[in-house]
Amino acid sequence: MKMRLCELSHVIDLRHLPWNRVHEDAEGIRVGALATHRELEETRWLCERLPIVADAAHHLADLQVRGMGTFGGALAEADPAGDWSAVMIALDATVVIASKDGRRRIPIVELFTDPYTTSLAHTELIEEVLVPAATLRGKGAYMKLERRAGSFAIAGVAAQLVLREDGTVERAGIGVAGAGLTSLRAVEAERRLIGEPLSVAIIREAAGLAMQATSPFDDLRGTAEYKREMVGVLTERVLALTQNRLEGLGRVSHAR
């Protein structure tokens, strides 16, 4: 609006809707669309439960922007390099969409259709996003490469893994930002992990498959080749960090 990319006769502030709640019920964790990035960053139980959310919230834009920008607003903007889209894909989230006719639900990957374009009808709003209980048993991480602090990602990778008692992977979610026309799901990389115990070799294979899932393009943030390479590097690092978190070791060095 300010950059004169669009000219609007009216602007409606949605903030008066009571849609900023973050809470847990039998279905999972519900994140209200109007929760600001900063509210999520400051919701301690949420960040402890889902470190992947803390990773994204803390490095999204800057302090001031995090206090005004909303979680649902960022998803609806559908920036191909958006942090929340990759994270919510990894968490296998469901989007709850409201309109005057009622509500409908879609898997998060079906929200993004093109750069800055969603499957929302003009009469619809994102009300909340549901992180299903099945993924909450695991742990995950999000890392992005940025040109400077607070920038959109050159590339970003989010992962959430649930392990069985024998240490093999039961569920795997891998979301990638900045490496295609929309944020995307690295399906083959997820499949490679399922049923296997985590090892350096398996993680490396999954990273290679995640690179193949991308279709990046050249722009000011980098060449397509560079972005694809970085998706591989970030996938390896994010899976290693996830493994450490699953083992209760906490945050480790990003060094390979």
Binding site: K2, S9, V65, G67, M68, A149
Partner: protein, 165 residues
Amino acid sequence: MLADAMVTVSFTLNGDEASVAIEPRELLVTVLRDRLGKTGSHIGCDTTNCGCCSVLLDGRAAKSCTILAVQADGRDVVTIEGLAQNGEQTKLQKMFAEEHALQCGYCTPGMLMCATDLLARNSKPTETQIKEALAGNLCRCTGYAPIVRAIQRASDQEPTRSHAP
């Protein structure tokens, strides 16, 4: 045309009630500066990058160049002019002066508002936490080291005088 109609916006400004007739399209920073005389909030980039226009909105730092003034209706706004009480600067402001944490001073109001927000929630921030809190504020002359030192001293911590190679 409807957009030209004036509306009245009321909010708390530095502890006092402010009420002002504006066009709905006006930004908070221009209303603060041009209609309410609070020229301490600077317009540096006008694109949400530099942080010079930062104010506290309900106690949290926000970039007033990217907020419509009507969005402030009913809320609490604090500008740089609202930090000192009865002519007495805050400890943070005094430390900025002592550490020479400003040169031209253009970015300083935004730096102070963000540091005020940080210290209100974290009385002993680490050097990393200080730097992260200032990620949305650009300084193009002093550099950030004295600003970080001023915030360390304002929170009764040993300032970082030099960095290991």
